[in-house]
Symmetry: C2
Subunit: 618 residues, 2 copies
């Protein structure tokens, strides 16, 4: 081994086949690049007194015969010029071209794991055979219930389910036991993979349960499942698994964590996933030198389809078990992170954390859920992030539009540029164009576009390859969502002359104040510009004279909290004065409340419903 001076850096060293062990060194300072050459890979080495070692289970190591094909078998009788689009093939291709490249890194736990593409692909194969051994047949549902953040069972399952032609069902871990039981029953799940921390939530389930202790070590029930799958395969390998001949087959079932009503299952297909993954990769310019940090919850639209964008670009993924901003900043500063996705509330947490520093190199901060405010944009850009503002829903595989910035915007004042950057923009490269239409009166009505005047409010609709196949076993709800031959997003928006769309509000978020429609989103955007405001949420509150008036719930910055601690009335007065300068009078909040934190959904969205309930009691 060549000795290098290293200080405060993660070194990921990957051996060559067949041991594929990984040596993980944590040191104490920062370097930008280095080369270490090893003659043989140590499985357990100490370096400057601090080291971790990792050896994958024997079942995770693929056979060494180069003639074993890394391809699924092709169904007979397909036309020679047709190959059904299948997102699992991206992983198999990565394992063929860059077998020794690190694919999955899960370092910040008691039992860290480091999987190369070759090892990971073998684990995914084992998973698929494990499903077959468990009696799973094409179209059967399996469930993964694991912490928000992309763990090894998630990583394997999202790929491996395709190999067994099963439907993978994602469940939000923050749902109640009652809700989870509903989903297990509704989906008809035959096999449940559950993280050890969440096993109590499925304790009454009828289906077989495989617990994952998140160790990657033998003795972990999940690892035993994979080992059994490997044995069951009898080394038939990938060609023992046949790809689906129909690319429109659904394979992912995402239950939406709706704020009202029972969770609904959204079916997405192989073709849609393949094309959405391509769009993400192109839009975020990922490549084999990219490192993606999993901050986004995995159960949220299957991680916005990024699991397959990452394999298609040969990128490296870093997994963290919880959203811990210190840990996130450690990776930003020392792990060559280039991309991550997160809701604005996560971006705010990142930008305002005490560990926040200037980044050593730019990071693509992909944000969706709400537009980043001018303040947040300035904070992120000031640190060296490159914000990418996308918009999407579970029904659209995550992102399906993007704010495409223009060079001319960068000559504008920040406040102006933030307004342009707040638009949800145009459809992604593989998505069909987005439209904004008037509400229809009867189910059979033709959809009519609103004028592209930046003023008239309508509903965002779209169709095409990046739209769900439908709701699982709910043809009535599917028909309603697809009225007029388009998917109805439920998001109200204006259409600008440049063809970009901009969300105003979900219909229930409009505040009817003195007969005027006040957009709670527009009010929030303005209030967020106040220097003391950290996060803000505006909801309608009944008013004897005006019908409704806006009420603002606000959290303030740490350094401002002290100043306003005993002066809530003064702060409310100041914020209202600030609003009066920027908003029409009917949109100025009548009430302002400083709160410690805002209620949020499991995916990081602010729960307006909870605030509305609180307001109803006032």
């Amino acid at each position: 081994m060549k000795l290098v001076r290293v200080r405060e850096v993660y070194l990921y060293l990957v051996s060559h086949h067949p041991s594929s062990s990984v040596l993980f060194l944590r040191c104490t300072s920062q370097v930008n690049s280095f080369v270490l050459s090893l003659s043989a890979a140590p499985t357990n080495t100490y370096y400057q007194g601090i080291a971790f070692s990792f050896t994958p289970t024997p079942a995770s190591v693929p056979p060494q015969d180069p003639n074993l094909s890394l391809t699924l078998s092709t169904p007979p009788d397909l036309p020679v010029n047709f190959h059904p689009l299948n997102p699992l093939e991206f992983l198999l291709r990565a394992a063929q071209i860059y077998p020794e490249k690190l694919a999955l890194v899960h370092p910040d736990v008691q039992f860290p794991v480091y999987y190369t593409y070759s090892i990971w692909a073998q684990r995914v194969q084992n998973f698929a055979y494990g499903l077959l051994q468990a009696g799973i047949r094409p179209g059967d549902r399996i469930v993964v219930l694991a912490p928000n953040w992309y763990l090894i069972d998630w990583a394997d399952a999202l790929q491996g389910a395709i190999g067994a032609r099963a439907i993978i069902t994602t469940i939000n871990t923050r749902l109640t036991k009652h809700e989870i039981e509903y989903i297990l029953a509704h989906s008809g799940a035959k096999l449940i993979f559950v993280d050890h921390e969440y096993s109590h939530l499925v304790s009454d389930a009828k289906a077989r349960i495989v617990v994952c202790n998140d160790t990657g070590r033998a003795g972990d029930p999940y690892e035993d499942f994979l080992t059994a799958g490997r044995a069951y395969s009898q080394e038939k390998g990938w060609p023992g698994l046949e790809m689906d001949s129909d690319e429109n087959t659904p394979f992912c079932l995402n239950y939406t964590s709706g704020t009202t009503g029972r969770p609904k299952g959204v079916l997405t297909t192989l073709r849609g996933t393949y094309l959405a993954a391509i769009a993400n990769a192109i839009e975020t310019q990922m490549n084999k030198d990219s490192t993606y940090l999993w901050i986004l919850p995995m159960f949220h639209a299957a991680g916005w389809t990024f699991p397959w964008s990452l394999t298609l670009t040969f990128a490296k993924q870093i997994i963290v078990r919880t959203v811990d901003y210190s840990l996130i900043w450690k990776h930003f500063l020392h792990s060559h992170v280039t991309h991550y996705c997160g809701a604005p509330t996560v971006q705010i947490g990142i930008a305002n954390h005490p560990d926040a520093k200037q980044l050593p190199r730019p990071i693509n901060a992909i944000t969706a859920g709400a537009a980043p405010t001018a303040h947040l944009l300035a904070q992120l850009e000031g640190r060296g992030f490159q914000p990418v503002h996308v918009y999407g829903l579970t029904y659209t595989y995550g992102p399906f539009t993007r704010n495409y910035s223009r060079p001319s915007w960068f000559a504008l004042p920040l406040s102006e540029r933030a307004k342009l950057s707040a638009r949800q923009g145009h459809a992604l490269v593989t998505a069909s164009p987005v439209r904004v239409v008037y509400p229809t009166k009867s189910p059979g009505d033709k959809l009519v576009d609103v004028p592209r005047d930046g003023k008239t409010v309508g509903e965002i609709v779209t169709r095409g390859n990046i739209v769900m196949q439908g709701y699982f076993q709910d043809p009535d709800a599917t028909a309603r969502a697809f009225e007029g031959g388009h998917f109805h997003s439920g998001d109200l928006a204006v259409w600008h002359p440049d063809g970009s769309v901009q969300i105003q509000d979900r219909s229930k978020d409009i505040i009817i104040s003195g007969g005027e429609n006040a957009s709670s989103l527009a009010i929030e955007q303005e209030l967020a510009g106040h220097p003391d405001v950290l996060e803000v949420c505006v909801v309608a509150r009944e008013h004897p004279k005006w019908g409704e008036r806006p009420m603002a719930f606000v959290t303030v910055h740490l350094e401002s909290a002290k100043r306003w601690a005993d002066k809530h009335v003064e702060f409310a007065r100041e914020l209202k004065a600030y609003a009066r300068e920027r908003l029409p009078s009917f949109a100025v909040p009548e009430w302002v409340a400083i709160v410690k934190e805002l209620p949020k959904t499991s995916t990081g969205k602010i729960q307006k419903t909870a605030l509305r309930k609180r307001v109803a009691k006032l």
Copy 2:
């Protein structure tokens, strides 16, 4: 206008709608980036005494109503989650998102043209309506016969034919009049677009002919055709054109410039083009800041499907009418070129031109047709090019495999790295895996893979989305090409343990020397390493004792030519000694001939057939 000091740089200034005029400034030194702000766009401005101005024809300027949709109309009764893949939509999307961005630049002619995405899209629309007005119906064939290099009629036609659902037929301009007449008859072309320099080649054609003078000015018959199309549309715009409901519809008919037999028409589809264009864009990391220089002949597999990779990434294209290395170097040095494609013979021309200098920023040099030699690789990299070695055929939409370099290669000596870089590699992201199989004995035989040992020679076969639909009106030839459910490339190769393929020779290029199979390609690769050798071609020559022996035809570098001028015998002796150190004895050329130039096909490939004929007479 803000004044900036500029020296030796092209400034492309694009106005805002509606005039969309472009001011072109050529100055006298080099800067890296600059901002010029204009309050209004001049249509004719002089700056430092040298300026060009350009105003598009009125018919090229789109209407200013933002409510006119930039989308084809969707056929009725499609599933909501299905949108037929259609590569024309990339252009319409670019025109919507970046209307004012320069798309096509054709500067080095008497009448330079500069089209923004908005203007270009309108011209494409006019082209499509022009076809409809001319009576073209879905599936009808139209022909473009224009110089090798992407001209404005090519640019419009390859996109516009999709709008009218016509099949665009590409013809190599270097074919004889007799061959062209055969293609016109075989394709049943109903409408011919011909560049003014080539109109004599179609003088006897029965179909209607539209001549293009390559001016972009009114009075040019081609421009009049577009203007008539605009009038015919009655401003119905894009929604007046319906997309094909079947993405497997063929829309491009490429006649191969085969060295033997009659040209064959290769049909490619909307789906294949869409997916191949995505693969090119991802592999070459193109984005909206990319500038692509057209050196590759356009009639060669529709420009390797790059016309649609460029629109999907919002890139800028620079068009040159002829391969003029001085001009190419001018653009490399001054026009922010980031990408170009070319056969190795073109790359050699580039690397050895007297104007060659260190590049101001890296350029992706995408090369196919034969592997770059170690010498060429070193030359290109030395200047700052980043060679990307791909492999493909007209039957595979151009590239379908790529040499994926690994970081570890860069620690090897150049000669070793060049050997690894010479492999044709692995399938592209949207292509199906490539195989190497034994020759079959009877048509019904199952294909059997050769071992992945880097030694056993077989034929490269593949299948899937990046394979032609078939030969036009030739089911027998299609069936032969598709035997065993795979497309047969005719290229002989070995399969390496890492899954990459490496071409040895086309079957007729194997030299059977003393019962041994000598690969002419492998011999060429070695001889090209000799410092005096510029290009080399090896063919079989009859030998009384050994059956066949290799004969090498060589061109030498300019600076070496003088030295060896009267010493051909000595050079042959030296080159044979050089070969003897590197090759098995049966592969050492028995004869060496220095020639002034090697015979080449219209697509820049060395014509071995011509050399074989010459050898036959010896």
